[in-house]
Point group: C2
DNA sequence: TCGCACGATGCTCTGAAGGTATTGATGTCT
DNA sequence: AGACATCAATACCTTCAGAGCATCGTGCGA
């Protein structure tokens, strides 16, 4: 049982289209005798007569004309498979498992997906909402390709890049005395006030930002919440003051006033004191494939547009 | 630019599934070195790295795992193409262009299609309603494979076979004196009565049957219609008497009475005087493929069932 | 009736693909 | 830490599938 060969199918297509062995052979850049033999082999391999040939004429049998259609399909499938493999290697096609944190990255996901769908329509993004720690684990296990999370990370196995920076705001209830103060606030402006801060483990990043800002003041932390939205709701209820990223102002919680803060010194060397809240993209060190590079580029592009929109 | 070979794809599938060149080679009944070379050739032909291999381990790249899926598809398509070609050759799959005459064969088409769909689900029947002459032309031009028509035919280019015989009935209005006569009628019973006959060219077969039946009587033909249904409507309106095939009684024209006739002698040698109305299947002489044979068998089977139903 | 067009067949030879032996690199076990 | 085992890659040789050339057989047209 000799198997069917692609060459045989190629030969068959030529003969079926020309209905003439000589011309078909010419088209295939070969001579007629081996072409006849290839067709014979194909017919025995398929187990059916595909071409009815007298000494003077060639015609397709019904089995042959059906097989011709299928032959086209096979070659198209092969061509597409090759082209698709190339696109995947070049990063213009493929699948990306993208992790994100609910409260921080969710705002850029919509524009990101739109932008990717426009530029890289063959790239499929599968979203995974996880806390930073979960994203790190996912990347190490190969479940995620890219994460959008808050520092710090284990830089021995992960690479990261800042994709967005934004200012830290104080948020106070509209009825609060601070609501009408002019100019940026310093820690001393919060002296004696109740502060809504964040969970030291579950929301470590914002907890540390808050602590860093308050370090030289004399305020007191009265709550440790896990979600920024929770903090804002508590502030609206008059429970105290909270520090939130600038983009939180677009969450639309009513009855709140957002106040600029003095620059926050003491971050890592590359940080921007005016925009201390950083969102990082993270991935497995050494696994920055062309596809990830493309997606990362779109993430930064979208995040930058988002930041600009916040400035205006 | 060496083209992709099926052997290369086969090798790739084995390696991709085993993730081990040695085991994959064993599965392919070959040794490891040529397998390595086949994979290399495939990768250069595709233009992408499909397998990431260190000296100790083999892993699929993302391009490779996508190509693996496509590889399965290609092999499935090939297998199906081969199987389909065999089925078409054996006659258990394919397409049949079937001609039929509106008034005569239409009653068996429904059961025929049901029966074919049950036994030969991969056979597609395309119906063409044509008069006998149109069917003959269609068969000669290759537009039709099989026809259901009335004799005579040009037997030098067509083969034919009787698929159904049925009695000829006289149909009279319920108010007519003949409606109450007992026993089969002879031509003398119609003496002096107005007869509805058929168009000598367009409905030649029934015209000749009518003339043959009346040849020794003294009735007069007052109409030449083209359709059996037309004749029956005229009879119901009291315009005269008509001769119709037995199956016409199932057309459901109200106010009619069907009378048996004496046997009709003088047909061709094989004819049955009690059932002189014949339906023939016709096809291009020498073109009785297995598929046509199957379909023809179903036609006869269904027509026989139909006849039996009429007898009861 | 002859000749020609065209597919099939026989024979030879080349080159692609397979096999054996070996290398080189990388984990693993003691 | 060193000896060993494992596994893919490479080198070299061998074989057979497939290509080309020459020829045959047979219908169709002049």
């Amino acid at each position: 049982m000799a198997p069917v060969t692609l060459d045989q199918v190629r030969c068959f297509i030529a003969v079926a289209e020309e209905l003439h062995f000589g011309r078909a052979a010419e088209r295939l850049s070969m001579t007629q005798p081996p072409l006849s033999r290839q067709i014979q082999k194909l017919e025995t391999a398929v187990g059916a007569t595909l071409l009815e040939r007298s000494n003077r004429t060639v015609a397709l049998t019904s089995a042959g004309s059906e097989f011709l259609e299928d032959s086209y399909r096979i070659f198209n499938a092969l061509d597409q498979a090759v082209a698709h493999a190339r696109r995947v290697e070049s990063g213009s096609a493929g699948t990306v498992h993208l992790g994100f944190t609910a409260t921080s990255a969710i705002r850029i996901l919509g524009p990101l997906l739109v932008s990717l769908d426009k530029d890289l329509p063959d790239v499929q993004v599968i979203l995974h909402e996880r806390v930073t720690g979960g994203q790190v684990d996912g990347i190490r296990r190969g479940e995620l390709d890219l994460g959008l999370a808050r520092p710090p990370f284990d830089t021995t196995v992960l690479s990261s890049r800042v994709v967005a920076r934004e200012p830290l705001y104080a948020v106070v209830s509209a009825a609060h005395p601070l609501a009408t103060v002019e100019g940026p606030l310093g820690p001393e402006d919060l002296d004696g006030l109740p502060i809504i801060s964040y969970h030291p483990v579950q929301a470590r990043y914002f907890h540390e930002l808050t602590v860093r800002f308050l370090v030289n003041g004399h305020s007191r932390i009265v709550q440790h919440v896990q979600q920024i939205l929770t903090a804002m709701v508590l502030v609206a209820a008059g429970e105290g003051v909270a520090l939130v990223p600038a983009s939180a102002s677009t969450l639309g919680v009513p009855g709140l006033v957002y106040k600029r803060l003095n620059d926050l010194e003491g971050g890592h060397p590359d940080s921007d004191p005016a925009r201390p809240v950083e969102l990082h993209a993270i991935w497995a060190r050494g696994e920055l494939t062309p596809l990830l590079r493309h997606v990362l580029h779109h993430v930064q592009e979208v995040a930058t547009r988002h930041d600009d929109a916040l400035k205006v």
